[in-house]
Amino acid sequence: MISPSASSASSSSKKKMKQAESKWRTAAQERIYRRRLLEALRSTASGAGPRAVKEAADSALALTARGQSQWSRAILLGRCRPRRKLLLKAGGKVRRGRRRPRPAAPVSVAVATGKKVRDRLRVLGRLVPGCRQLSAPSLLEEAADYVAALEMQVKAMRALADAFSAASLNAAAAGEAESRVV
């Protein structure tokens, strides 16, 4: 197969680099995620516990990723089982079951990387959800996307938590003031 010209190839690589970073940094994405986050939080039962909140936040994050990345698909698939079919269609190359066709993927690049690097790649694969049996280049790509997404998530949640606590303080103060007046 004839390889395409250098210009098109370079543009594709540049696109990849742009995707990882600016995709999660745009204000539009932030807005979208915050909306989803609020939704998710509302749908959790009050007093459900921090774990439910975290799961809701992660699901919202994965949703905002639109299933284009491995980790987002893994998160979404992990939560809602009956909807796998729809997500399969949307996400594209989602495989059924946890068994990936490349169980020795991290080792396939063993020739090019040392033992320490391989160990760390394995650890990284365990950290990023759904990326355990991924080859080194795709794992690194997923990790870049995941890191950017996580940073946005932390920022949004922190702002939300601050707003929440400020609101609750104000509500308490207002309530007190009212009761005192009355």
Partner: protein
């Protein structure tokens, strides 16, 4: 200076060896000539300093001991040569400091090389690989195979003229069944090393991406350390998410969600106040201005509580599964709700 003559590893200027110790540049040239001489003696000790010299451990120790022994003997003889390096082999920091940033270093194993990598730019044939100096050790994996080292030596010596642009871009594309890789000048052209190099380029490109993403990684050289940093960063982010979710969980039950609609698009204080009915302002601001939302919310909390009952969030429309499809529709729906609210 008879001890200099004892050092017979095939160098021409062994006589100048002792003085070379005091002068880093000459010493490095010494080492380089050693390497080129000892080409066929690949290192066995896993990328340590001896790898640099291409000598066995004993020979390297002998090398190091030479100056030390020389010092001792010459001091006895009254020369008292001022040596910077100690005769103890493990503390090879002195030599490492003087050593240039040899491409044979796998920085994972020799952190001293990172600090020592800075000085000695006057070195000649260590031109940084076309893979860029920060990741200099990265593309050079453990040089266990002398063939690879030879390749790199040749490439180093001739100065890599980089004709590999097409290959790099292609390998980053990652979707081509056929990768067209052009070999660099002086590099081996057998299919194995070509495909390996292509793979390595891919990985290095992704690593660079990650390095830019994670703060403070651009200074670190060496794949393993960079990966360390990345792992730490990911773990810390995940921990932050957990803490924040704890905070949110603690605060959740007490807050009436209706009052927080202003934060969806929060341009907080003034606009939220003007929207007395607690409507959502459509300005693309963020929650980051935390103090203002607090003040704005106080005014909002009362009036919005009345409207919150009318605020039925369109859950049905934004189903988790379907939102992937109707992405645009899902986005526009809340806006419609907002507008209808303000129309009330």
């Amino acid at each position: 200076m008879g001890s200099g003559g004892r050092f017979g590893v095939g160098t021409g200027n062994s006589g100048a060896y002792m003085t070379a110790i005091a002068e880093p540049i000459q010493f490095e040239e010494e080492i380089r000539s050693l390497i080129q001489a000892r080409f066929d003696a690949p290192p066995v000790s896993g990328g340590s300093f001896t790898a640099l010299l291409g000598l066995s451990a004993n020979q390297a120790v002998g090398l190091l001991h030479e100056p030390g022994a020389g010092e001792v003997s010459t001091s006895a003889a009254g020369l008292g040569h001022p040596l910077g390096c100690s005769p103890i082999f493990p503390s090879n920091a002195a030599l490492a400091d003087r050593a240039p940033s040899f491409p044979f270093f796998t920085a994972a194993d020799s952190p001293a090389s990172i600090s020592g990598g800075g000085p000695s730019p006057p070195l000649k044939a260590e031109p940084p690989d076309s893979d860029s100096s920060p990741s200099l050790p990265v593309p050079i994996e453990k040089p266990r195979r002398p063939a690879k080292r030879k390749d790199r030596e040749k490439q180093k010596a001739k100065g890599p003229s980089k004709k590999i642009k097409t290959a790099e871009e292609h390998t980053e594309g990652d979707q081509l069944p056929y990768v067209h890789v052009r070999a660099r000048r002086g590099q081996a052209t057998d299919s194995h090393s070509l495909s390996e190099r292509a793979r390595r380029e891919k990985i290095n490109a992704r690593m660079k991406l990650l390095q830019e993403l994670v703060p403070g990684c651009s200074k670190i050289t060496g794949t393993a350390l960079v990966l360390d940093e990345i792992i730490n960063h990911v773990q810390s982010l995940q921990r932050q998410v957990e803490f924040l979710s704890m905070r949110l969980a603690a605060v959740n039950p007490r807050i009436d969600f209706g009052g927080l609609d202003g934060f969806l698009m929060a341009e907080c204080g003034p606009l939220a106040a003007s929207n007395g009915r607690g409507g959502v302002s459509l300005d693309p601001a963020s929650w980051s201005s935390a103090p203002a939302p607090g003040t704005g919310l106080r005014k909002d909390l009362r009036p919005s509580q009345q409207s919150s009952t009318a605020w039925v969030y369109p859950y049905a429309l934004i189903d988790h599964a379907t939102s992937l499809f109707g992405y645009g529709a899902a986005d526009s729906v809340p806006l419609n709700w907002n507008q209808s609210k303000t129309d009330l």
